[in-house]
């Protein structure tokens, strides 16, 4: 319990750092958002209008007052009004996009983790064998292929040439979101290629991680004892070695969430998928600063939540933590 409390304290502190960064980055940069917008009107604004723009970006008053009001806004999830989809509030756009990104990344991360971990177990168990010497390097190399390239190629082959999959969107235009099988099937059909392109560039990491941790465990006394007891190969492999090797995997799973969300950005752009990444790119093009800043906070928050969940999972899986 103490362990969990300590972790929560760390996450709160980390979130606080993210909020502070988000506050200071635009203010130390040459030309803050409000100055840019004012400049873009080339002096056609009067004093009151300038003051109003400044106020809406929170750049009036002393630094300390600005900071306090910013923290207050963040706590209320009030990120201002979107300039792209005026007058939608930024937060509702943010959560709409986040839902679809969650669908993509959620499916991709689950499959990547399962496939990669199983392959890693196999490779470590037969170290130096055919599977290990061929697929370990190949899978890890796939990891170094940029999501942009993989997504473009999949899009070209399966959406444009073979036309097996749709050209974009999260679901067909005629359908409205509900929990029917038809709609869910339609969503999965649209998500197939984007998920695949995230999957291809990410499962190699799990493969290598699992393989390396498992190889280090293979010579441990408890494994040798288990073998000496005459336990079946299968049992030693999964219940003894893999069971222990999975712990660091879960920790790095949480840390990889941020990386995967970044990868989804590119994928969504290629497949025209209405997720957070797509909205972020639109926001960048139209200089919608409040959205760009809000997406960083939302993503940071999801990484922290993922880390917290992995801490809980570790406490459940590792009895040593419960005593400590």
């Amino acid at each position: 319990m103490l362990y969990i409390l300590r972790r929560v304290a760390f996450y709160l502190a980390a979130f606080f750092v993210a909020v502070t960064l988000n506050f200071f980055i635009p203010r130390i940069m040459p030309g803050d958002p409000s100055a840019r917008i004012i400049a873009s009107f080339q002096g056609r604004l009067n004093e009151a209008q300038i003051e109003a723009i400044r106020a809406s970006y929170g750049t009036t008053g002393s630094m300390w007052e600005q900071y306090l009001s910013y923290v207050g806004q963040v706590m209320r999830m009030d990120f201002g009004i979107s300039t792209v989809q005026f007058p939608e509030p930024t937060s509702s756009l943010l959560f709409y996009g986040a839902t679809w990104t969650l669908v993509l990344v959620g499916i991709a991360i689950t499959f990547a983790f399962l496939i990669g971990t199983m392959m890693g177990i196999h490779a470590a168990w037969n170290r130096g064998g055919f599977f290990d010497s061929v697929f370990t390097p190949i899978n890890v190399m796939l990891n170094a292929f940029t999501p942009a390239v993989v997504a473009l190629l999949l899009f070209y082959a399966f959406s444009l040439q073979l036309q097996w999959f749709p050209l974009g969107r999260a679901h067909s235009t005629g359908l409205s979101p509900n929990w029917s099988f038809e709609f869910i099937g339609n969503v999965l059909y649209h998500a197939t290629l984007p998920v695949l392109s995230i999957l291809i560039v990410s499962f190699g990491g799990w493969h290598l991680g699992m393989r390396n941790v498992m190889i280090n465990l293979l010579n441990e006394d408890f494994v040798i004892l288990a073998r000496a007891k005459g336990l079946s190969d299968r049992r030693v492999r999964y219940r003894y070695v893999a069971r222990n090797a999975i712990l660091p995997q879960i920790t790095s799973l949480a840390l990889s969430v941020g990386f995967l969300l970044g990868g989804a950005l590119v994928t969504e752009q290629v497949f025209n998928y209405p997720g957070l990444g797509k909205f972020t790119v639109t926001a960048i093009e139209s200089r919608d600063y409040s959205f760009i800043q809000a997406q960083l906070l939302l993503l940071t928050m999801s990484v922290l939540v993922a880390n917290f969940l992995s801490d809980i999972a570790n406490v459940v899986l590792d009895p040593r933590l419960r005593k400590g």
Partner: protein, 345 residues
């Protein structure tokens, strides 16, 4: 503050690091030294053991050769091209042929020239950011591990924060505020966000080295602290530093490509990422101009693959257990003949 930093340093990852340290086998190089194994006669015997271990590693050398080829290509190839990468060189979307080895883009720019010039910038951004991140990681990791105490608590807290902050979204915030994020800006931001992992591994290693005899004896002899760090600890960090550098370079090259691809980079700069951006914007695939997409894509993939190979080699040198058991038959046989257990491998 002190309480929070405490929690950070007792996180699960640290415990795992510690566990890995406790079970760390002596490295191949240490074993060769300790057992005074004569190395195979040949040109590698004249090299220092750590260099020899890398040079004789097949994967590592394949990676180095591919990487050197890419670097040489991007340095030399533009000299053989009569075209300017920024200027129109022919009709739009000319297929590869005699005039244009890799065809032209929608704008009529020569693809071959662009890939070669783009390589200069993409590789420079990648290596620049990778090296900078590894150096920052090294400085912070060694300081945290060697000085310990309060310094360690505070530094570890920041390392953990950098690890949990999502890198790409943070870069997007910064890059969107700079008018057009040129390669230099992207490189600097990538360096500032990428030092978490190297700092973490190097700190763990320093913690274990600090209690070794050679460091203790240097301390007892009254050596200055900075001298111990540079002369005693740093040489032992070289492979971890290299590992961090290689991983940092991969992620910087990929991140540069991703950022430019979504249109955050300077669209007038020629990098592999902006080439992909223009190819996507100009519907190169839809119009069948595969030669506009493939060259930068293959260049990124080859560079990534080469760096992954090198990282494999570095991993195998720092942790010989990872090496498939075949290559070390000689040492195993030697240990058996002396009646010593060969189980370390």
């Amino acid at each position: 503050m002190a309480d929070i930093t405490q929690t950070a340093s007792s996180s699960l990852l640290d415990r795992l690091d510690d566990a890995a340290l406790a079970s760390a086998a002596p490295s191949q190089i240490e074993l060769i030294r300790e057992l005074r194994i004569k190395q195979k006669p040949g040109w590698t015997s004249r090299l220092s053991p750590s260099v020899a271990a890398f040079v004789t590693n097949k994967k590592g050398m394949i990676g180095v050769i591919i990487l050197l080829a890419m670097i040489l290509f991007s340095i030399l190839a533009p000299m053989f091209s009569e075209y300017n990468p920024h200027r129109r060189a022919g009709k739009p979307h000319v297929a590869p042929g005699y005039e244009h080895v890799l065809g032209t883009t929608r704008m009529g720019k020569d693809v071959y020239t662009q890939v070669a010039y783009g390589g200069r910038i993409s590789l420079a951004v990648g290596f620049g950011a990778g090296i900078a991140a590894a150096v920052i990681g090294l400085a912070i990791g060694i300081s945290a591990g060697y000085f310990g105490g309060r310094v360690d608590d505070i530094l570890t807290f920041f390392v953990n924060v950098v690890l949990v902050l999502p890198g790409l979204p943070l870069i997007i915030v910064i890059a969107s505020l700079v008018d057009s994020a040129g390669p230099l800006v992207i490189g600097i931001v990538l360096a500032l966000t990428g030092w978490g992992w190297p700092a973490r591994t190097i700190r763990t290693q320093t913690l274990s080295l600090r209690t070794r005899e050679f460091v203790l004896s240097a301390e007892l002899m009254g050596e200055k602290k900075w001298r111990i760090i540079f002369k005693e600890i740093f040489p032992n960090m070289l492979s971890f530093f290299m590992g961090g550098l290689v991983l940092g370079t991969i992620s910087a090259i990929l991140a540069e490509a991703a950022l430019s691809f979504i249109g955050l980079g300077d669209p007038n700069a020629v990098t592999w990422g902006t080439m992909l951006y223009w190819a996507q914007n100009n519907m190169a695939l839809q119009t069948g101009a595969w030669w506009e997409i493939w060259p930068p894509a293959v260049a990124i993939m080859l560079t990534g693959a080469a760096l992954v190979m090198i990282n494999f080699a570095v991993d195998e040198i720092t942790n010989p257990q990872l090496k498939a058991s075949r290559g070390i038959g000689g040492i195993k046989r030697f240990l058996r003949s002396r009646g010593r257990s060969a189980d370390v491998f």
